[in-house]
């Protein structure tokens, strides 16, 4: 057998899922089991001591879940991945593994509302300091760095403002200060952007969205490059002998697999937010069609964005793929195959028009999710970003008349028909 680099589409179908050695099953078997019989007492001890790769209990590992994890890690070019019950669970665990009280995090202000809340309140309860910055301003990132800063965090494509992050510059800044950069790549997926290739260290996903692609299953995943030097003296929580694992020094002992091993063997074990094998099966199956779906998602998104951009009843369309987007140049660099399929536009009539528009649609589903094969719509100011005050809303690029779309894989003409009906309904009443 000679060395061969398989292409992305081949890996979406095959990575992590080899024929089942026990049965020959070609589809990924769903190992619906809580626990695993040990070969003997020696094996059992070796598994718990992390001396041998073995299954002990499905809160910590499961073969179906592992196939999904390996698939995502492979597509992103990471050392490995750990899956969780949801995107926010994955993010909590990724943060919890590397932070301790007194640390400081710098995050983009243009993030999913649930993430802003998580960073502000969850990290606050753990006595972790936090600064939100304008993600487009590298000097803003730089000026917030202090001696306690342990992490920089942003989204590839901001939710819902459509900011495209200059990943390479922010990664360079992070590394100059011995910090890792964590990127939420949910909107881009590894098909459109692979942040590790631009210098990011850790990538998190809500797999619930485009990875799964069908709106059936919650799940999240953390991918680690394995390249960050946790033994640089600033991360004793990762590098020092762990009292929670009989004195094991995860980074020294497991090297590039150190952070991932700690994330699984300690954080997943202790937080307990394990994904179900059935969800991992569905999400893994979703990934098999990721390239096909994403091509249709971004083509439809571009068509719909252009339609709205031309429409006299629409104020502003924040799709990075549009030529007049302030993020067009960054999108060309980081998202050459398309700028995702979630974006916002503003209705000049404010909140009332936003709500009336949504009520007039019949093909777009009004719900709080994105990244479904079906097209979705929501009014962020009254739903997903409801916990944010006016300043935070503005910093996230949201006005009272902002409507967020998640463009599906239907026929673009039908989506435009539905949006036209909604816009016409506003004209009739104003």
């Amino acid at each position: 057998m000679t060395d061969h680099e398989f292409g992305f589409a081949t890996r979406t179908v095959h990575a992590g899922s080899r024929p089942d050695p026990a049965t020959g099953a070609r589809a990924l078997p769903i190992y619906q089991t809580t626990s695993y019989v040990f070969e003997n007492t020696e094996s059992a001890a070796a598994y718990f001591n992390l001396q041998e790769y073995g299954n002990t209990y499905s809160r910590i590992m499961n073969p179906t879940v592992a196939a999904f994890e390996e698939r995502v890690a492979n597509l992103d070019g990471g050392a490995g991945a750990v899956a969780f019950a949801s995107g926010l669970a994955a993010q909590s665990a990724a943060l919890f593994t590397l932070l301790r009280p007194g640390d400081h995090v710098i995050a983009s202000s243009a993030l999913y509302g649930g993430t802003i809340t998580q960073l502000k309140h969850f990290l606050g309860k753990l006595s972790v300091g936090l600064s939100f910055v304008d993600p487009d301003d590298i000097e803003a990132w730089r000026s917030e760095i202090n001696g306690d800063t342990k992490l920089l965090f942003a989204e590839t494509i901001g939710n819902p403002g459509g900011n495209v992050l200059d990943i390479e510059s922010v990664a360079e800044l992070a590394h100059a200060h011995d910090c890792p950069l964590m990127i939420d790549n949910t909107f881009a997926t590894p098909f459109l952007c692979r942040p590790l290739e631009w210098g990011a260290d850790i990538v998190v996903y809500s797999a619930t969205k485009f990875l799964g692609g069908h709106g059936t299953s919650l799940g999240g995943v953390v991918v680690d490059s394995g390249e960050f030097n946790w033994s640089n003296g600033r991360f004793p929580v990762v590098a020092d002998p762990s009292p929670a694992y009989h004195g094991l020094s995860f980074h020294e002992t497991f090297g590039v697999y150190g952070y991932l091993t700690k994330l699984r063997a300690e954080t997943l074990r202790d937080l307990g937010a394990a994904i179900s094998p059935f969800n991992a099966f569905l999400l893994g199956q979703g990934i098999e069609t990721l390239p096909l779906r994403m091509r249709q998602h971004v083509a439809n998104a571009m068509t719909v964005a252009e339609f709205l951009h031309e429409h006299p009843g629409v104020d502003r369309v924040s799709y990075p793929g549009l030529p007049d987007s302030p993020y067009h140049e960054l999108a060309d660099k980081y998202l050459p195959d398309g700028s995702g399929a979630v974006f916002c536009f503003d209705l000049p009539g404010g909140r009332e028009h936003g709500l009336r528009f949504i009520e007039s649609l019949s093909l777009f589903s009004h719900l709080a999710n994105v990244g479904d094969a079906k097209s979705l719509v929501i009014h962020p100011a009254s739903t997903t970003h409801r916990q944010l005050n006016d300043n935070e809303l503005a910093a996230a690029g949201i006005s009272p008349g902002t409507v967020r779309l998640s463009i599906g894989i239907e026929d673009a003409g039908d989506l435009i028909w539905d949006l036209s009906e909604g816009l016409n309904a506003l004209r009739d009443v104003s």
Partner: protein
């Protein structure tokens, strides 16, 4: 990975057929990486021979002061020492007729690798023997690690 002449997939897979592996610099401290590797290799049936002049025995196996003190033929010389120690170990590995010089993660010595390679040994550098076994023959995929393995053939 493919560009590094000392990380060739065929060489790595072939090395895994070894029977006897000398672990040069194996620590008696069970929390050190070398101990994890040694224990793993024992678990998978390899004849593990510790080489550490400071210990009588490690992992229940007799420890030898040097490679040339080992009475049996060694297939792989697996090195956990500082890179500066590698050229001398490479010479010794040649002298005892080993088939492969394996340098663990971070044990990077172009000089040592070249010495061994010119002496007819297979050389693997900056790779972990445990990880490569787990990747191709073991169960690394059970814990969500990226093995890079794509195949439709039944194991």
């Amino acid at each position: 990975m493919i560009d590094n002449p000392y990380q060739n997939q065929d060489v790595i897979r072939n090395a895994l057929n070894a029977k006897r592996i000398a672990l040069v610099g194996l620590s008696a401290n069970e929390l050190r990486a070398s101990s994890f590797v040694g224990r793993y290799l024992l678990f998978h049936g390899y004849d593990v021979v510790p080489v550490n002049p400071n210990e009588e025995s490690i992992l229940g196996r007799k420890s030898y002061p040097s490679l040339s003190d080992i009475p049996e033929k060694v297939d792989i010389v697996d090195v956990f020492r500082h890179p500066s120690a590698v050229p001398a170990i490479a010479e010794e590995a040649k002298a005892v007729g080993a088939n492969c010089l394996w340098l663990q993660f971070g044990v990077i010595s172009e000089e040592g690798a070249e010495l061994a390679s010119k002496g007819g040994l297979d050389v693997v550098m900056d790779r972990c023997l445990k990880v490569e076994h787990a990747r191709y023959l073991g169960r690394m995929h059970w814990l969500g690690f990226n093995t890079g393995r794509i195949t439709a053939r039944r194991a």
